[in-house]
């Protein structure tokens, strides 16, 4: 009997990645809300025991086969959730070429899309110490463009997903970056291939929304 706890902040983009992965992969976890506003619970010693750098989301608990040590960060949670999902679900592919492509896009989310995450945080919650005042949407727009170019070529070859023939954790990792880009002023109108992909993601069984991501469309 598994008993997992996801340490979660509802408005955080990376926590949405984790919740979406749990929902789509059919893995059950209890949500534990971490108040990152006034209470700054991410800095509390008890949370730092789980996530030494105070990073959200964090996942911990018991799997069917044993203890799951505390892990933190969206990529770690996504890979773990895919491993906990039914073995034939295919969220983390095993074919070497597909493994490579998923790794590529997971890395893209962490590096190229980092400015997009910073920009959204800045737009919604105001500046923090590590934000400089020269933030523009240019790097975020450039990263979404790379995704648009890729999905345009995929659409032309009759494919719906970023990698292979079925949705993978790469789609889950990339989805919030596009779905939430209106939060910092980028329109979906310029990315028709990503719009098409977005509506495919929204139609997946188990899909969940978050504030800023409408369920329809």
């Amino acid at each position: 009997m598994s008993d997992l706890v996801l340490y979660d902040d509802e408005l955080d983009e990376d926590c949405y990645r984790a919740r979406l992965a749990l929902a789509l992969c059919g893995v059950v976890a209890r949500l534990h809300a971490v108040d990152v506003t006034m209470a700054r619970e991410q800095d509390a010693p008890s949370f730092r025991m789980l996530s030494p750098s105070g990073r959200l989301p964090a996942l911990q608990g018991m799997t069917g086969t044993g203890d799951l040590p505390a892990i933190c960060g969206a990529t770690a949670v996504l890979r773990t959730v895919a491993a906990l999902a039914a073995s034939d679900s295919g969220w983390a592919p095993v074919d070497a070429g597909d493994v490579a492509c998923v790794a590529h896009w997971m890395s893209f989310v962490e590096c190229e899309l980092a400015p997009a995450r910073r920009l959204r945080r800045l737009a919604l919650f105001g500046p923090s110490a590590d934000d400089c005042d020269t933030q523009t949407s240019t790097p975020a727009h450039a990263a979404l463009r790379v995704m648009e170019d890729h999905m345009t070529l995929r659409r032309i070859s009759g494919r719906s997903w970023f990698v292979g023939n079925r949705p993978t954790i790469a789609d889950i990792a990339l989805f919030p970056s596009f779905a939430l880009c209106r939060d910092y002023g980028l329109s979906h109108d310029d990315y028709p291939a990503l719009r098409r992909w977005q509506s495919c993601v929204k139609r997946l069984p188990g899909f969940i929304a978050m504030p800023g991501v409408p369920e329809y469309g």
């Binding site: 170019d149 345009t152 070529l153 032309i156 070859s157 009759g158 209106r182 329109s187 979906h188 109108d189 310029d190 028709p192 291939a193 719009r195 098409r196 509506s199 409408p214 329809y216 469309g217």
Partner: protein, 255 residues
């Protein structure tokens, strides 16, 4: 009118049919935003394939309708779900299920036409407009490739395409010899080679703003997947080149 002098003529000219989307980029029961001059539009398609255009503003709270969704073949606002029919009349207000909305609650609609793989719209109020310009001879069909945004003025795009800024459509011969769509041990026969040597790419440009141009890229006639992908990559390269040159030109102006 006092600000008109700041703009190049093609950027304020909102007369006539303007391309607002590639047909394939607007699947059944979906909506997207577009712009013709100062007019913001919600372009939507019902489940039967019919395309409509409406002012991009909900009369209730001013929300952009292009952020909404299509439900029961009506355009629904994301905020409170008010639904507008093909003529722009509000038919449903979810907060008041028993209420029949007054005929005065409506949004302005605009004529649309879908032809040659493109959706055209006009906002100039002309009563009996002529058809949109034909992109190709009636004997040919077109194969849509993609929509692409370029962050540069239309005049910069026109220059790169080798057309006058008043010509909104460019025809580009795209050579195909450097793509590996035939294996080396299966070299094309001379007649195949001639047929495959080039393809005509039709580019329709639309000024979205002073610093933003949208291109609709199509191929004349039928084309295999590899050729469509080639045309898509060509459009990406064109975008990157135009933006680089435009950025360099701005730097020079400021030196």
């Amino acid at each position: 009118m006092t600000e008109q002098g700041q703009y190049a003529p093609e950027e304020v000219d909102a007369h006539g049919w303007r391309p607002v989307a590639l047909g394939l980029d607007l699947p059944p029961a979906s909506v997207t935003g577009a712009r013709i001059g100062e007019q913001r539009l919600a372009i939507w398609r019902n489940s039967h394939g019919d395309v409509r255009a409406s002012d991009d503003r909900c009369p209730h709270r001013g929300m952009r309708l292009s952020l909404g969704f299509v439900r029961d073949d009506m355009l629904a606002c994301l905020y409170h779900g008010w639904c507008f029919d093909a003529e722009g009349r509000c038919r449903t207000i979810p907060a008041h299920p028993g209420l029949k909305p007054a005929a005065t609650i409506r949004t302005t609609t605009f004529p649309t036409i879908e032809s040659d793989g493109l959706i055209w719209c006009r906002v100039d109020g002309v009563e009996r407009p002529e058809s949109p310009p034909a992109l190709t001879s009636p004997a040919h069909r077109t194969t849509p490739v993609r929509t692409i945004r370029i962050d540069a003025p239309t005049r910069s795009v026109s220059r790169a395409l080798g057309i006058s800024p008043d010509d909104r459509t460019a025809r580009v011969n795209l050579p195909l010899h450097d793509i590996a769509d035939t294996p080396d041990d299966n070299a094309p026969t001379p007649s195949d080679a001639a047929a495959m040597s080039a393809v005509t790419v039709v580019v329709v440009q639309h000024a979205v703003g002073r610093e933003e141009t949208r291109l609709y890229v199509l191929i004349e006639g039928d084309a295999p997947t590899t050729t469509i992908q080639r045309a898509s990559r060509w459009a990406s390269s064109l975008r990157d080149k135009v933006e680089r040159e435009h950025k360099d030109a701005i730097v020079v102006e400021h030196v």
